[in-house]
Symmetry: C2
Subunit: 528 residues, 2 copies
Amino acid sequence: MNLSYKDQRPVFGGFKLTRETLTLRAIGIDTYHENVAYLHRSCNIYRVEGFQALSKIEISTNGNRILAVLNVVDDESIVNSDELGLSQQAFKQLQVEEGCSVQIDHAEPPKSMGAVRRKINGERLSADDFMSISNDIAESRYSKMEMAAFLVASGQTGLDRDEILYLTRAMLESGEKLDWREQLVADKHCIGGIPGNRTSMLVVPIIAAHGMLIPKTSSRAITSPSGTADTMEILAEVTLSPERLGDIIHQERGCLAWGGTAKLAPVDDKLISVERPLGIDSRGQMVASILSKKLAAGSNHLLIDIPVGPTAKVRHMREALALRKLFEFVGDRLNIHLEVVITDGRQPIGRGIGPVLETRDVMQVLQNDPLAPFDLRQKSLQLAGRILEFDPDVRGGQGYAIARDILDSGRAMAKMNAIIDAQGRKENPSFAPGEIFFEVVAERPGHIISIDNYQIARVASMAGAPIDKRAGVELFKKLGDPVSEGDLLFRVYSEFSANYEFAKNLCDQHNGYTIGEEANIPSSFVAF
Amino acid sequence: MNLSYKDQRPVFGGFKLTRETLTLRAIGIDTYHENVAYLHRSCNIYRVEGFQALSKIEISTNGNRILAVLNVVDDESIVNSDELGLSQQAFKQLQVEEGCSVQIDHAEPPKSMGAVRRKINGERLSADDFMSISNDIAESRYSKMEMAAFLVASGQTGLDRDEILYLTRAMLESGEKLDWREQLVADKHCIGGIPGNRTSMLVVPIIAAHGMLIPKTSSRAITSPSGTADTMEILAEVTLSPERLGDIIHQERGCLAWGGTAKLAPVDDKLISVERPLGIDSRGQMVASILSKKLAAGSNHLLIDIPVGPTAKVRHMREALALRKLFEFVGDRLNIHLEVVITDGRQPIGRGIGPVLETRDVMQVLQNDPLAPFDLRQKSLQLAGRILEFDPDVRGGQGYAIARDILDSGRAMAKMNAIIDAQGRKENPSFAPGEIFFEVVAERPGHIISIDNYQIARVASMAGAPIDKRAGVELFKKLGDPVSEGDLLFRVYSEFSANYEFAKNLCDQHNGYTIGEEANIPSSFVAF
């Protein structure tokens, strides 16, 4: 081997002056949120350019460009060596015809990952950093792995309140914004953590029936067994175009739609698609997510509900107050009139947990059914009352009475039916829960002294909610109720045997109920 | 709508007593580290069980089970509705024939994600937590997103030294362990960050020529332009089975192989496959990665090299000392004799950066070529000397002279050739760098007062290293050298024009060299 330096001096070979192209082919594979490109192993470009399976590539044609993950194909019937295959979503996103010429290239890593690495190292990020991260996510430049890194890094050392403001603004800028051209556009949001807490489906019809504009957009469940959008979906379409949404709201003064596909704050939805499977939920991310969505939906008056209780998301009053101040700080700087109410979060609200079971509770309240869950009715009326008082014509303290009148008179039910019809009524919705169920009974006599929100939510999730609409938990006893041995505490419904088994195993370990002395029933430390 | 409670009482439908099966089909798609399963949209199981594209499923047959990500297919020529398709790696991992019956099920989320979430919240994890995480990763239960969450969470608030010990032990337990049945099994490792630092390829032949056992296994580059395994691959096979590895080491007393496919600490390799694209590299993870790999390879005497310099991984002496103590703490508890040397990390070592260019430097030193880079030779002799002194028969302080004698006499070159032959010599390796290159010259006269390790490494990476073996950077001036205006500082080689452009753009922004007054050349603050 002669390795002297001179002999190895390379000869300059010049550039490739033309770039090779491939013929686009649509592949009948659905890869959901992730774009996948298929290249044959014997494709010339694959060999020459040093691509690797699972590396990210950029595909361009006529000025359109998308990013995709590369899969390498050894089967000519899927793609041949002159073709580039794209999975369904990727093909749709590129917006060109099959057979057209495309070029491919190594995707540059998203520039804003530098800021994410600085965050991992504990640095504070600037408004520009958050804007770059948000833009790169909006343009699908982040893999799920990269989004996970951002979420964990910004969740852990936490974002300071200015950073949360920057993030909120960046997420807001990532999508379309609605403008209702009205002085008073109301909305409400609960930070979550309380199973069965479907107050929005009562508050919205009440407020809209009063004539106040309440263009409620809802997220789907992140880690809970159901979100308002998941539950509303039993009754009506929730996936609406911005145009549809606008028409409905102008006509009905309110709606109960999913914000996801409406192109409002799309970065929020992408982040949620990572938060959900990871089961993480950080405070700064939560504030940014809620406020960016509400602002994008054009709200200028917002009521935030923070439930507090030993198994709620917020467990102490001091924590609830800190969170309230954080909402107020960001809200004030983004020009939204924001009020925060701190509510009783000691136990689930209503009887049902899971889309179908919750719908039943909501409809019972709307129908003034004497069996309707009292706590769901009361809480909804309290919240609706607070929102009604945003109206300058409503005297301070009169909101609750007006809300109750709207509900009792049937005007809320009528409005709900109008909203359902406007969004698209589901034909013959079934309110029957899943056919496979088991029951959990009291093992000793006494009083119910605690119901673990988190555990009941997990049981409902394991049972299949919210993906299986008919799965969930139905509670027969609530806090403070006396029980005898063998009394039914709750019933768990599934659609599939695998879910039944997951949920059953979980309940066998810990069913979430504690039975004890009447004296030990905790009093609510919230005066609401 | 009649929604009264009684009417909705479900009828118990009983369980499905038999489970449907699908016929296994191998799909000619290479999805690298990620298992992918293909199910037709009209497949009965897909519809009934509520699977979703991109959800994780478990596939089982005859007691074998694997996890895979689900893609939904609309093309009968890929899979039909009775079939389950598997990507190449997934099919291989399941270890059964095509056409055999398989069952599928929702994959349970990895149990240990609960511990990861506790880590995200800043909690300290137990030895058992780390063991569960490591087991779940070893069994491919973690997605890349979940591994990213673990890495970021444990990198950010940091692991305390006991947690690092637990993690190291868990990673060590995840794979096979080699036992050499000898009292003295040596190894060395540099924490990295210094481009061109290929001392292992000199130290191993010297130590093995002395007769001391040094079963060196190397990682591939994480964020650098080349790892020892990437560079050694120019000369020999580096992907060896544990059996091959054992035979070679018994015969030659040393080897230069990649630890990845040798089933030693496999969790480390999986984590590296996430760390690399994210560009993160945490201290605790580094210590656990290095020590688990070395212990799994059966070493009981280890020399760790920590380079310190203004652009090295470790920038201050106090940081180097803290890291030394961390290595000592974990090493002592895992019964390895461990010594740490702190070395001069002010600039790259040798002339070449990138697999081919580094190989040339190494071969020049082994061949006692007068043009061989002096710093690479000196540092390698110093490190080899320290390792030789692990031998009870070597008098303290004599190691360096023995190492030099082995190198100068040609015994190191002879041993290197023997190792190359044993691992599998590459036929006619080319040492020619990439054919597309550009040069960076001095813009003013003066002395080189700094060379930015990080920037030079980035230029080499952008140029294509280590994936393109012939890409990299060749340095013509080092720290302290006098230069005139227009003198060649370094040359950058690529194999592809896209890489040329990435690297060129980067150099135009900042080329990594600073030219200044002779008085400002920093002195090494390491006495080594």
